[in-house]
Amino acid sequence: MAKISRLSGEQRENLVAYLDGELDETSAKEIEQALASSPVARHDVDMLSRTWDLLGQLPTSPAGEEFTSRTVSSIRAAEKPKARVDDAAVSRAIRRTLGLAIAVLVLLGAGTAGFLGTNRWIPNEADEILNDYEVISELDKYLEAGDIDYLSKLQEHREFSEHDEPNAP
């Protein structure tokens, strides 16, 4: 009587494939011949088959009632934020660029106004001298006269006029 030990390693591996109907015709016939001559091999095949059937006792685990809606919602949620992020990113970029441009314009305006303002409305030392040039240029005479009313009265008399002096008799 043939024993299981007489099955080659390949034949033992083929036992399962034989049960699964995955062997070609030649290999299947070879296994059938080995099984016909070996009660141990037949016992093994029987046990392989019966223990395999036990897997059918495992509990089924269908998805929960909310699974479909949760999954579809999660897919939509995963897609939408991306779009929102893209739109928001574009909006943020536009706002940021506009803000930057406005800030630069304000700074330029402020700088220009400041420059013009300081040059036009805040008098410097030279401006004061230029404004008072007429007085300063005649300051020696004014100091000699001592009184502005006296000089005014002198100017009223023609005899003391500077323009008439060279022609005076």
């Binding site: 399962v16 699964d20 046990m47 223990t51 036990l54 269908p62 479909t68 999954t71 897919i75």
Partner: protein, 212 residues
């Protein structure tokens, strides 16, 4: 072995791949149809894979979200179910790695086993006094099978789940796990041999929970 490559036209004929192509064109209803068609199957497989119902639902939701986000690049080169479970497998693998890293930090002082879950026998002992015998027997069978399943490595477990519950061929499993048909044959052979060793005592004796 049977042919090791998927038929190229199979994807083009797949009605779910057609729905996905409609979703690619912006048809939200088509995508919702895909969600409703696959949600129970996906959550079921993931629950057995990660052994945590809530985590499985979260992962399933993540799978659909990932598929939706990648819809513009979708090309129907395989059946839609293969495409979906490949993404599910990748996300589940990432999660396992993350959980593994966290557990390295938090394991100290915990009574969890290396896989995180307590042994089925311990859970059964805690719950056995609270339910009728028949119900307990059924839960006991489920716990023992779940326990046997948890001893498989992640690729073996995924291959078993896809073959058992999705009735996927070796070719489709290979496409899902991004491996060869020959590798799938080895994976499933080892996985089923491991399950046989774990579960045979329960099958032959018919006395659930009598083994350690």
């Amino acid at each position: 072995m049977k042919p090791t490559r998927a038929e190229p036209n199979a994807a083009a004929r797949d009605p779910d791949a057609k729905l996905m192509l409609r979703a690619k064109q912006g048809d939200e209803v088509a995508f919702t149809q895909l969600v409703t068609s696959y949600q129970d199957r996906l959550v079921g497989v993931l629950t057995h894979l990660v052994q945590d119902r809530q985590a499985a639902e979260d992962l399933a939701q993540e799978v659909f979200l990932k598929i939706y986000k990648a819809r513009h690049g979708y090309e129907p080169t395989a059946k839609f179910s293969t495409y979906l479970f490949r993404i599910a497998n990748n996300l589940a693998s990432n999660r396992r790695r993350d959980v593994g890293r966290k557990r390295e930090v938090t394991l100290v002082g915990s009574d969890s086993g290396p896989l995180g879950a307590r042994p089925a026998e311990q859970i059964l002992a805690e719950t056995s006094g609270m339910m009728p015998a028949r119900q307990f027997a059924r839960i006991e069978i489920q716990a023992v099978v779940q326990d046997a399943l948890s001893t498989l490595n992640e690729n073996q477990r995924m291959a078993v789940l896809l073959h058992k519950f999705e009735e996927m061929s070796y070719i489709d499993i290979a496409a899902t796990l991004d491996t060869t048909v020959s590798a799938v044959k080895s994976l499933l052979s080892r996985a089923r041999e491991n399950l046989r060793v774990k579960l045979e005592p329960y099958v032959t004796q018919g006395t659930w929970g009598s083994q350690d």
